[in-house]
Symmetry: C3
Subunit: 362 residues, 3 copies
């Protein structure tokens, strides 16, 4: 990726100063920068690294005195991570998917793969599936039968799309991710012990020895545009209706989305988060790492679920929640503070008890 | 899947009324039902949808006035989810595994695959493995050497069965699931810091710089009949004896079962639950989503472990537990109630302290 | 694996007595031992099993009276798990990776695979990748382009190594593990609601409807020597610098390591643990099962993170922590004890309140 400072600044819509025709071939952290690298030092706290590195050009914060850092050119970024997004796209070496369809890939004769596809060895596309233009499918990835996928698919090595799933444009499936495994849905002939416990919130119940009967998943998974699914993450298919993921939603690695879940647009689901069956998630919901939403729960728009929080009850739009069970973040922080002081509180109460007893005795 | 109402009712063992020869080709939620769909409205709360949809036939609750919903035929289901299990099997379009063994599959010459197998492209069966009749093996799935699997295996795309594992009949492995990865077992020459902490429950200990030595897994995984393993889930092999999963047990997506675990029959392990090494789990145990059982723990028959609960101590049969660390569900709900009130309790104690101090001063 | 007692004792560096030329072909738990098995009974609590089994030889604790158990030979192990490590290596039947490169594997013509490689069907090695001597690569595993891997690689079925990752010697990748999925890094044009909440620790904020812009991962993953990665686990690549895993670190199944993480040497990360983006983990850190480290956190050398603990703040070297949020283990155990007594404490406070009120009224 060879670019001039002027080209990069233009692509990012940012101001630049100095030797605008200077050429850089990669980005680097300031201290690790070689002369051909563009150093990333959008915050003054990274400025020190510039002196240790050998950068001739950098992206800096607005107003930075670039000459003082010995630089020959600089680009100025008012919102560092936003600039990072732009520069990461300009400088990305990308991934190798080969040229055309690899001779060792298997495309079913009834499948339709549009122009521009690059498909790696041992990848498969099943019967009657339709793949839009510009698809990139990695080694050993597989798309089953009757799948429909829009333009510019990126499916990395070992990712799986199961039968009858429908996916929009620009989907990215990371390695070994799974779309469309069966829902986990079983039932016993008579009400099971678990059903009793959920109904009564009590451990007392009749023990019955029963076998699980499988409820097959007749639905599939329907995914909008611009969705990404992380490595080893899974979205299960629906029971009757489809499981739905709205456009613009991003799902990290090792996440699990259960059957029938309806997720809105532009959500963000961080690593190891889980959503149990039939939960409904609004738009722009953020689920932090390791958080969990119970089955059949409704989470409103713009809700923020904090790290490792467990959502057992419906959440109105706009709320930020935390804890297990999750409460409003302010409530949870108060509870946590009180919890840290709990051993002391218990000691205080013991003293008070003694004092009162003393009064009575006297 | 084209069926008459009479056929479906008979298959489900349920009563039907009206135009029993009416033909349906799929199931649908009431509001989404087209004329050829069988609407699923087993609870009165879904009845309203029937007026919005175009269903001519539905499965309803016993005693429902089907004519009033404009239907031509109805089936009556006293236990909705049980009926759902039946109808989902009758109406399932199923998955495409091709016809016979795909020319691009690799079956080792010493492997024995019984009659009726359907095996997809780039699937593999290793040396000396024996696969029972009726196997369906998806694209890119792999079975290693010396594996024995009973009849009617369903192994979806990318699922892995490692060497020497033994699996009963009707096993279902969802995409990218793994049976028989190595156990996670390491040891240091001298006792490690972690061993000290576990022994003393104190953070104080000697720091030693040691390398981990690997304990190889000489055991494999032994699985009974009618077991299902979810997408991206994993069952590790045993150290000396095999890891064992009893017949009828169902394991959801992104679950982890450690080395040497002994799980009984008809258990249910929901999404993202984990069982650490050498734990023993009884029969009909239910592990809710994201719950975890510590290593070497014993969990008795019919125990119900609530969502995200952490089991650090043995659990007697029949108990329902919740929380981190898990306690009886009733105890935990009491603790949680008290916890919500904890900030107020702290304030009350502060007032009492003041009142007492006031008394002393006066 | 056919060995004499003398051979095994010598390999383990342990003392043996009795018929040292006795031949064993496998190891077994005492009660399950057949005459050709070496029984493992390194602790007196397993001794009873010896009478039930048919073992002629066993590994016992030092000083055990082996003749009294009817044995013909015995090896004595002062540290049982250490002996287990040795015996598990001597007696391991190992895994079948075939002979040479399978005709159905795909090695890119520009890749360099050193001598002694055994590569299974449908495995791939991408353009310009360099694989050291003695590699064992399972069926359907894939290595992308520009990867560099040291000697004695073991990559099990379906494991993935993405582009430009660099890995040392003796790496073990369990089935369906992933090295080098993209980092999960997105940004909105204006500060997002989540940024507001993190800054203020309050749920109150402006709701903005914004799209996520992707930050591509320009870095890769760099892994030292003797690292193991468990089934369905994932290590994400870095944004600018590489994600780094130090030599000797062991990672269990279903773990997730986010972009930019720097993990030191000889760490142990147990099942379902997660480390969020840009966290720095020292040497010899132990992360117990289901524990989690928040993004950008620093965890010092020799820290022990207890089961399911959530690390939200930096941790100084040598500390043992537990809980959500994690605190020193001693503090957490005190909190937990107080928590169990909390309902009673609340009742006590209510009584005190009544008593004080009674005093005032009288």
């Amino acid at each position: 990726m060879v670019h001039s400072i002027a080209d990069i600044a233009r692509a990012l819509g940012l101001q630049a100063e100095g030797a605008l025709d200077l050429i850089v071939t990669r980005v680097a952290e300031p201290a690790a920068a070689t002369p051909e690298a563009l150093a990333l030092a959008m915050d003054p706290k990274y400025a020190e690294g510039l002196s240790n590195g050998q950068a001739r050009a950098a992206i800096l914060w607005p107003g930075a005195d670039w000459r003082a850092f010995g630089l020959e050119a600089a680009i100025f970024a008012p919102r560092p991570r936003w600039a990072m997004a732009g520069v990461s796209q300009v400088m990305d070496p990308g991934y190798e998917f080969g040229v055309g369809v690899h001779p060792m890939a298997y495309i079913d004769p009834t499948a339709q793969v549009a122009e521009g596809a690059r498909i790696g060895p041992f990848a498969t596309v099943g019967a009657h599936s339709q793949i839009g233009p510009g698809a990139r499918i990695g080694a050993n990835a597989s798309i089953a039968e009757d799948v429909v996928i829009g333009a510019d698919l990126t499916l990395h090595a070992g990712a799986r799309i199961a039968a009858r799933c429908v996916i929009g444009e620009r989907f990215i499936g990371q390695p070994n991710s799974v779309v469309g495994g069966c829902g986990f849905s079983f039932v016993t002939p008579e009400p099971s012990a678990a059903e009793d416990v959920r109904a009564t919130l009590s451990g007392t119940r009749e023990i019955r020895q029963q076998k699980w009967q499988r409820i097959n998943s007749l639905g599939a998974v329907r995914i909008g545009d611009d969705v990404e699914l992380g490595a080893n993450s899974s979205i299960d298919r629906g029971t009757v209706r489809d499981t739905v993921i709205g456009s613009g939603s991003k799902i990290d690695s090792l996440c699990q989305i259960g059957h029938n879940v309806q997720m809105g647009e532009d959500c963000m689901m961080c690593g190891m988060a889980g959503i149990a069956g039939s939960a409904r998630i609004g738009n722009r919901v953020l689920l932090a790492g390791k958080s969990a939403v119970n089955d059949n729960i409704f989470v409103g728009d713009d809700v923020i679920v904090g790290g490792a929080a467990r959502v057992f009850t419906n959440v109105p739009s706009g709320r930020a929640i935390l804890g297990d069970p999750a409460t409003k973040i302010e409530t949870q922080l108060e509870i946590r503070k009180a919890l840290r002081r709990l051993p002391r509180l218990a000691a205080t109460v013991a003293e008070l008890q003694k004092a009162i007893r003393g009064q009575k005795d006297s």
